[in-house]
Amino acid sequence: MLRWVVVRQEAGSRQKRPSGQALGQRKPLIDKTTGIEKAIECIPDGATVMVGGFGVPGTPFCLIDELVRRNSRRLTLIKNDANEAGMGVDHLLQNGQVERLIVSHIGLNPHAIELMNTGRLAVEFCAQGILAERIRAAGAGLQGLLTDIGVETLLAQGKPVYQVDGRSCLLETPLRADIALIHAQRADPFGNLTYAASARNFCPLMAMAARTVIVETEELVGLGDIAPEAIHTPGPFVDYVVPLGELTEAYGVVSR
């Protein structure tokens, strides 16, 4: 009898919920806009930090600069590349904040290559698309992936091999991070994001794979100003939105 009463109470409270019409008027989604210092403050020594971008497009230069000021040490960075000497994550390398780098390519940064060759920086190379999938796997809550990419190459070293349909496959582990630093073209206060052109690259994947996701945005728009079907990263993945002022030179065209 008692059990029956409990169920009746739940059913009663459900009836009091707002109707569809009233839903549209309820309190808006939470505002995640934050100052840059407060956002970066949460990155401790020893953190694993994912940084979006492929070359300049998508690299969050302002968040990186703030991380240099914050001076967190012994970081593990996960990024497609190491930017170029004197740009982006190279500032973290020059400041001695990075212990380990997980990348697909560092060819445009001779400084990073020198640090690696002299044993001052541990570098783990990963095939570019597998780097993307390892990040995506973490974001999707998977415990790894099996692939034949890299079989019979140096990148297979130390990785368990499984046979799938008669084919040798490597077990690639998911890449999770404490923090992801992301650059968006446009964000609303809830953290719905869009990226410009080839600036998308690793950003939406990393935005799913870190415990705390910090986004800098060129433009902050109101809730509802980005059409729902045009959103590249949905707001629930994002923790902090940092609106940028005028863009610094780092974001500009590089004349080589």
Binding site: F54, G55, V56, P57, N80, D81, V103, S104, H105, I106, G107, L108, I113, M116, N117, V123, F125, A127, Q128, G129, I130, L131, A132, E133, R136, T147, D148, I149, G150, E152, T153, L154, L155, Q185, A196, A197, S198, A199, R200, N201, F202, C203, P204, L205, H232, Y251, G252, V253, V254, S255, R256
Partner: protein
């Protein structure tokens, strides 16, 4: 067809495409239907190819993330890739990403392109800077992918990789067959049919 041009020499091919030639260029950083390179005065700061050159859009260009970009490659939607090489072996093994201790920029997207494009073409000089053959019996450098190359274009010759080894298809006007054979570190099979000239 959908084509990916590797960084370096292959990228230069874009300038030789006839206008209106029906090809969809793919760039690993998330572009399909990529337009030609543009000088930096006219560049869009957010639009580069995988080699870092500023490029343009065409009607029908699309942008996507890196996972989608490599799904296109690994999933079998890339018809052709043209890559540079440090060494190619007679069985089609390709080495183009590292010279241990001297040159290790990282593999980038090279392994997936070499292993999964439906056709893999190498575009490289016939010999290296020291005059040593790049086409060899067996690669001495770490592999990008085993047995992946279908055809090689060099400044001296066009060579196909067949199950029986390297087959000479064409040679450049200024060279004789003996010179090509001498500059090649792997056995060259020479067809009894006429060898083309270019």
């Amino acid at each position: 067809m959908t084509v990916n041009l590797g960084i370096g020499l292959p990228t230069l091919l874009v300038d030789y495409l006839e206008e209106g030639f029906p090809v969809c260029l793919h760039s690993e950083n998330g572009i399909a239907g990529q337009g030609p390179a543009v000088p930096f005065e006219r560049a869009d700061r957010n639009l580069i190819d995988a080699g870092g050159a500023y490029v343009s859009v065409l009607p029908g260009t699309s942008f996507f993330d890196s996972a989608t970009s490599f799904a296109l490659v690994r999933g079998g939607r890339l018809d052709l890739t043209i890559l540079g090489a440090l060494e190619v072996a007679g069985n089609g093994d390709l080495a183009n990403w590292t010279i241990p201790g001297r040159f290790t920029p990282g593999v980038g997207g090279g392994m997936e392109l070499a292993q999964k494009a439906r056709r893999v073409v190498v575009l490289c000089s016939h010999t290296d800077k020291r005059g040593q053959p790049k086409l060899v019996r067996q690669c001495s450098l770490p592999l990008t992918a085993p047995a992946c190359v279908d055809r090689i274009y060099t400044d001296m010759a066009v060579i196909d990789i067949e199950p029986e080894g390297m087959v000479l298809r064409e040679i450049a006007e200024e060279y004789g067959i003996d010179e090509v054979v001498a500059a090649t570190g792997a056995p060259l099979l020479i067809s009894e049919d006429e060898i083309g000239r270019f």
